[in-house]
């Protein structure tokens, strides 16, 4: 059973990898703080950018699809406000997309550290980007929950967003490792990622309802873990329901799988970084 040994080996590699990540938590923390400061301090609006950014998108899509196309949310999401429906999908997607975008160039732009700081754990670089985006996401979510509480009313199911936030985070880190590692060897990745993420945005039910997608295509779209995460967020925020078990299981399994795959993949690419950079 050669496949079993290979799997075991990869699992072990991954275990050491994660353990190392835990050991490096103090560098991780220092660099997350620094990254947040670099992003927000020194810019005039500071932290409010984490609100202005999604707000602008919501306004644009709200006007185009809500006003021009007269889109209506599926009643199963418990609201007839298209804006509310939109914002509950845009926030988790933004978190994922911005994390991945920031991760892509994270190794290349820190070439100095990767090449010269002996023992520097380069795997933390994409993680830093994802973590610092997590903070923006949390701020955005807090404001969104306040708005929902005022205009819609909250249910006890709100804490369930964390059940969907965790796989989104894990999935973003996994994808972050893959694209950051690949980008060192193939700088084209940096050009391709915005296109991939744009496709991802349109093929995830963010400004439309899954029910408006014809059946065979829907099955294909639901292969994307973010498909389930976005629906999960909406259920928790607007309806007081939870994802069907099959959907939730798929989200958890795929995101953890991509996380593991990303870790092993990054581990394999890492020794060559100093040479290519």
């Amino acid at each position: 059973m050669p496949n079993l040994t290979v799997m075991k080996e990869n699992l072990l590699t991954f275990f050491y990898f994660i353990n190392k990540l835990y050991q490096d938590r103090s560098i991780l923390w220092t660099m997350i703080k620094r990254d947040l400061r670099a992003r927000f301090i020194g810019s005039f609006f500071g932290f409010s950018w984490s609100v202005i950014d999604p707000l602008t998108q919501v306004l644009i899509y709200g006007v185009v699809f809500g006003l021009f196309f007269k889109s209506q949310p599926d009643p199963e999401f418990g609201t007839n406000s298209y804006i509310l429906y939109l914002v509950c999908g845009i926030l988790p997607w933004q978190f994922f997309a911005q994390s991945v975008t920031a991760s892509t160039g994270s190794i290349v732009s820190n070439a100095n550290l990767v090449k010269k700081a002996v023992g520097f754990p380069s795997e933390i670089l994409p993680v830093i980007k994802v973590m610092s985006n997590l903070l923006s996401h949390l701020i955005g979510m807090l404001i969104l929950i306040l708005i929902i509480a005022i205009f819609h009313g909250v249910s006890f199911y709100i804490p369930f967003i964390f059940v969907y936030m965790l796989p989104t985070l894990i999935f973003a880190i996994g994808v972050g490792w893959i694209v950051a590692g690949l980008n060192v060897y193939l700088r084209d990745v940096q050009q391709v990622m915005p296109l991939v993420l744009m496709a991802g945005f349109f093929f995830t039910p963010i400004f439309y309802s899954p029910s408006s997608v014809p059946e065979p295509i829907l099955t294909v779209l639901s292969l994307n873990p973010m498909f389930h995460a976005v629906i999960g967020y909406r259920y928790a925020l607007l309806t007081g329901r939870i994802l069907p078990p099959g959907s939730l299981a798929y989200l958890l399994i795929t995101s953890f799988f991509i996380f593991g795959l990303g870790g092993v993949f990054f581990r394999k690419l890492k020794p060559g970084f100093a040479e290519v950079l």
Partner: protein, 449 residues
């Protein structure tokens, strides 16, 4: 490649594997280490090779390191010397674990702190303070521990309020100051310093070498790369000479540095010849390293090089009565005398001498050009006798004598025969004083009313 490696081992095992049979356990062992880079003419060639189903080669191999074997015992200071592009930095990067070797392997026992090229891996956007803490974290030192050390690091780097400015605003000198201060204060067992210190000012260099001495006394291992032969001889006990990725010599640092100086002089000479168009086709210039135009060293300590177009035949140190001696009395007059035999017409010969301590520190050297002594053209077959009269105002110690003859051409000075460390003489004296040179100081004390 495999076969090549075996050949090397078969021939050179004795000379190349520089083992210390009774020494302590090695801190670093490098075995059969090679590093090859694939060179592509255009970036699209890289892609073509990647995608070619028949695995056609689109690259050329560039060997940055070829079959390097080193064993560095714990607690010694090891120097690596070589010209630009000789593979020094690549070797250090592989030892430090930043680069992967193409073949062979490296064993390192102990925590490494490294200053690779210009300063360690600092994050340019971070302040000096933040970088210090980050380096500490990379080395596995807790924040609390680093806080205790920070004062010492900041004090050593001595860059004032810049410590709280982003590193990108630093001058290269400040960068290195902070990098060195951090690297040496994170308690490494092995310290790697790559040419970095040359950037700092003289005072800071002095401070660094004092710290390196403390480090040596604490029994830590240091690997130092430098272009400056003086630094290698004074700081390191053993050294490695690399040339085009291959080991040329490994062993006692003075011997290795002497060989390096010789190699440089010969390349310079070959370059001068190419410039003057004399011998444009000279493909075998490297072979001359091994056999220097029939010039043969007389003693094991001697290093001899030059074109061989003139030869220093007879050299001696004479006392006041004209008798040959190798023991000099402090303050007395002596003469260094040697005969030069010219094998071609030399328009403008230069005759010189140099005295060094056994550690390689240059005490005094001069030549007829510096002193403005006319020598005049020397014909083929002619002989000249040179006499350098001097007072032995040196501390009671042993010194090495170097003599040489060179030719001045419009573009350069070419060594004809340079004989380094041909003989050792000793200076004896009863007076007590410290230092190398007796400056003939007169002390007068007066009581003030």
């Amino acid at each position: 490649m495999k076969a090549g490696q075996d050949d090397m081992l078969g021939e050179n095992t004795g000379a190349v594997l520089d083992k210390d049979p009774v020494g302590p356990a090695p801190a670093i062992v490098v075995r059969n280490l090679s590093k090859v880079y694939k060179i592509y003419d255009t970036p699209s060639d890289r892609l073509k090779e990647l995608l070619n189903p028949f695995k056609k080669n689109y690259h050329r191999d560039f060997w940055a390191l070829r079959d390097v074997n080193i064993e560095i015992p714990k607690g010694i200071t090891f120097g690596i010397i070589g010209q630009n592009g000789s593979g020094k930095s690549t070797l250090l990067q592989i030892i430090a674990g930043v680069l992967r070797p193409s073949s062979g392997h490296v064993e390192v026992k102990g925590r490494i702190s490294a200053l690779l090229e210009l300063g360690a891996g600092f994050n340019k956007e971070f302040t000096g303070r933040e970088n210090v803490f980050m380096q500490g974290a990379i080395m596995g030192i807790s924040r609390k521990e680093m806080e205790a050390r920070f004062e010492k690091i900041a004090d050593f780097a001595d860059i004032g309020h810049f410590i709280d400015q982003p590193v990108k605003t630093y001058s290269s000198g400040m960068y290195v100051r902070l990098a060195f201060a951090t690297a040496i204060n994170v308690d490494p067992e092995i310290l790697i310093v790559d040419e970095a210190l040359a950037v700092g000012d003289v005072m800071f260099q002095r401070r660094c070498y004092r710290r390196i001495e403390e480090f040596q006394q604490a029994g830590r291992t240091i690997i130092l790369v430098s272009q400056a032969p003086g630094i290698i001889t004074t700081v390191c006990t053993r050294a490695l000479l690399l040339d085009k990725g291959k080991m040329v010599e490994i062993g006692d640092s003075k011997r290795v540095v002497n060989l390096y100086s010789k190699m440089l002089a010969e390349r310079e000479e070959a370059y001068a010849k190419r410039l003057s168009g004399g011998q444009k086709k000279e493909p075998q210039k490297d072979e001359r390293l091994q056999s220097v135009s029939g010039l043969k060293a007389q003693s094991t300590s001697e290093f001899r090089y030059g074109s061989g177009e003139a030869e220093i035949l007879d050299y001696q140190i004479l006392d006041e009565k004209g008798e040959k001696t190798s023991v000099l009395a402090l303050g007395k007059e002596y003469t260094i005398k040697y005969v030069v035999h010219f094998k071609k017409d030399v328009q403008e010969p230069v005759l010189g001498m140099m005295v060094k301590t056994l550690k390689g520190v240059e005490v005094f050297g001069t030549n007829t050009l510096y002193e403005g002594i006319p020598v005049g053209p020397a014909g083929k077959g002619s002989r000249l006798t040179a006499e350098f009269k001097f007072l032995a105002r040196l501390h009671q110690d042993a010194y090495a004598l170097t003599v040489g003859v060179a030719e001045v051409t419009p573009s350069s000075i070419n060594a004809l025969d340079r004989r380094c460390d041909i003989s050792v003489f000793r200076v004896l004296g009863k007076r007590q004083w410290v230092g190398i040179v007796d400056m003939d100081v007169n002390i007068s004390i007066k009581v003030q009313d």
